[in-house]
């Protein structure tokens, strides 16, 4: 089956800013795809290009088999989008906005609408002017999740939601995704991306730096090793794939690349191992290393 979203070498300039710099991205049918990256990396810009709201300079993007710029209307019938900054019409009520957006998208399921409103504990009869940030976010989420579409594009959908609502959101997305429906989820919350996503892409400065399942990504990273030895270790710092070495007396701690682990442990044995502790990298470290550009 062809992927739901296929982006090849996408470039987008804003004046002299190169917001997207040859981005590649693939989202497969039925998957929840986590989309991560530091502030200003180009996540929102990517989503807007995928919606056909921005004209791209070069490269190609296909969403649900369609060109988002040319077939935007046809495409929008089949997807729902939750923007990062939800701006609503202050004089309409939350319920009116949900219905309006749903109808403009081509209809929404009334029972799902009612169930979602109950689940997110939203009062739909209030004017959106009086809503808190989290409640505005809920309006956009309910409007998107209650519609009958194949693809969800979510830009930091849980910003402003309390932990309880965040959990509801995860449950709802988990239920929603069945039947070959797909989600592209931009987020800064690692635990959320970890819990929901089948695959994850990390972008920085408008370029894809890493993509794959979490398990695959873990493989790509370093293992922290702390060892006590019989002799003072020497020469280990200079080994290929060994970083951040700190030697204190007979002790050593360092970060070792996946491919160098075998050689490194063998080298340790040469100094006589008293104790050895290894720690797989936390996800946090994984992301931080990518975000910093390490």
């Amino acid at each position: 089956m062809p992927p739901v979203i296929e982006v090849r070498n996408l470039v987008k300039h804003f004046g002299s800013t190169r917001a997207l710099d040859g981005l590649d991205l693939t989202v497969d049918v039925g998957e929840v795809h986590g989309f991560l990256g530091p502030n200003g990396a180009g996540k929102t810009t990517t989503l807007r290009c995928l919606l056909g709201l921005l004209h791209t300079d070069s490269g190609s993007a296909t969403v649900l088999g369609l060109d988002p710029w040319r077939n935007n209307v046809e495409l929008h019938r089949r997807l729902a989008y939750v923007p990062g900054d939800v701006a609503l019409w202050p004089s309409l009520t939350g319920g009116e906005v949900i219905d309006l957006l749903g109808r403009l998208r081509g209809g929404l399921d009334p029972t799902r609408r009612a169930a979602l409103i109950a689940r997110f504990e939203l009062d739909p009869s209030k004017k959106t002017r009086t809503y808190s940030k989290g409640n505005r976010q809920k309006v956009a989420l309910i409007a998107a999740l209650a519609s009958n579409v194949e693809l969800l594009l979510l830009d930091e959908p849980t910003s402003g939601l309390d932990p309880l609502m965040e959990r509801s959101f995860r449950e709802v997305v988990a239920e929603w995704r069945g039947d070959g429906r797909s989600v592209l989820l931009s987020s800064h919350i690692l635990s959320e991306a970890e819990a929901l996503s089948d695959r994850i892409s990390i972008i920085r400065a408008g370029r894809m730096v890493e993509t794959g399942t979490l398990a695959e990504m873990r493989h790509l990273t370093r293992t922290n090793v702390v060892a006590q030895l019989r002799q003072v270790p020497t020469g280990l710092q200079d080994m290929d794939g060994v970083h951040d070495c700190v030697v204190t007396g007979n002790g050593i701690s360092c970060a070792v690349e996946q491919y160098a682990l075998d050689d490194f442990v063998a080298a340790l044995q040469g100094f006589g191992i008293v104790s050895l502790a290894t720690q797989p990298p936390t996800l946090e470290e994984l992301f931080l290393s990518h975000y910093r550009g390490a």
Partner: protein, 534 residues
Amino acid sequence: MSQFTGTRALLRLALRRDRILLPAWMLAYLAYSVGGTAAAIALYPTMQSRVDAASAVNDLPAMLVMYGRVWDPQSLGSVAMMKPIGFGGIFAAILAILLVTRHTRTEEESGRLEVIGSLVVGRWAPLAAALSLATGVMTVLCAVNALGVIGTGLPAGSAWVWAISVSLCGLVFAAITGVTAQLTQAARAANTLAFMMLALAFLLRGTADAAGTPAASAWWSWLSPVGWQDQVKAFAGDRWWALLPPVLTIALLTPAALSLARHRDLDAGLIPQRSGRASAGPGLRSALSLSLRLQRGLMLGLLVSYLLMALLLGSIASTANRFLDSQQMRDWLLRSAGSSDPFVAFMVFEVGFAGVLSALCGVILARRIGSEEQAGRLEPLLATSASHRRLLGAHIVVALLGTTLLQLALALGFWLGNATQSGNFSGLPEAIARTIVYLPAIWVLVGLAFAVFALLPGQAYLSWVAVAATVLVSEFGTLLSWPSLVLDLSPFTHVPRLPATPMLWTPTLWLLLVSGGLLLLALARFPRRDLATP
């Protein structure tokens, strides 16, 4: 005093944000007041020419309503400054209203004031800064106005009393807006309330002059801040004491606004919010129904104001025949309105004036989609199956429909006001034809506003520049005998002035063609540009 802390910093911020707007506006104002006066002085070299020009206003209720009475037909200043005296205070008030709302309610609505409110800034600081800004601007305006008019050779004392009365009128409306900005939550509503007060003040002054005697206006002029500006009788006696009512009003309203500001929450109005429907009614299902819903409040307000204004003017129109006495008057009317029949001339003047006003309203309706884009509210809509064209089309329909309704209300009001006075109920179709014939010209400016939105979204001010230029041409163009090339630039120059002139189809079709072309251009180009983000 601590509630005023931070006022100075906010004032500096406001000056920084308005560093282009304020000088540009000031220049445009001077072009109108000083430039207009300098040019007009040359038109009235002899006493007879002044008396003639003055009677063209004083003998016609329509002109009295618009410009107010020329209090001394023999005074050069009184005659040459007829328009700056009539409209000077109103233009100052418009700027004051926009400035105060812009730096109080708009900031609050956008959430920027929340950031500021968390700093070392007192509760009164934003309002105090906005009012100080208005005071500063009006003070500078007063000085340049007075010095400019003195520079044209008119008497200094009168120039000062006029300039002060104009700036005080602006400041009264700054204080009024300080109050309305506390009452409502939405900046748009605060502006609307203040502008309605201004319209009311203008109508009070106008009708009081039309109903008054050559020596004094009717008493209700004294209820109106615009009336106070008229009552100083600059260049015709210089009644300095008439500056007292605005000063007192400012002294009363400013503490009232501050006390209201103190007793309300951030982001709240004093008029509380009610709950609404939990689900949308069956009507709210398209881009068109949404834009109708968003603009219906404004439209209703405008329609009611138009109907009232037209009723009033229509009932005065039937008295127009009384005043025709001299051959000069007939000549003057023939030249400037195309007919020497005072009733017909009255219609031509009023309908022409209202036509330009409708164009302004049309541009306000057309600009709505731009402010929706700025607020980020087009993004969720365009992510649904509503296309760019449909969305823009919806706003175009509302603007075209809105201006049509305004012109119809105008016709209906004129006809009804005149019919109830004269007892003659025929002529409704003719009344409608007279106002409808302005629509193509109005739509040219509306089309231009949409084209600017689609092609130059960052240059929204161009639509207002076009409106301002149109106002200048229709106010001064024929009076100062500007070259016809300049006059022809205004779409209103090409409108047949029914019933003074016969219907002219060629220019009307051209105007329709131009406005249609601009709208099509907008529809063609909007889908091809990036959506702007807040």
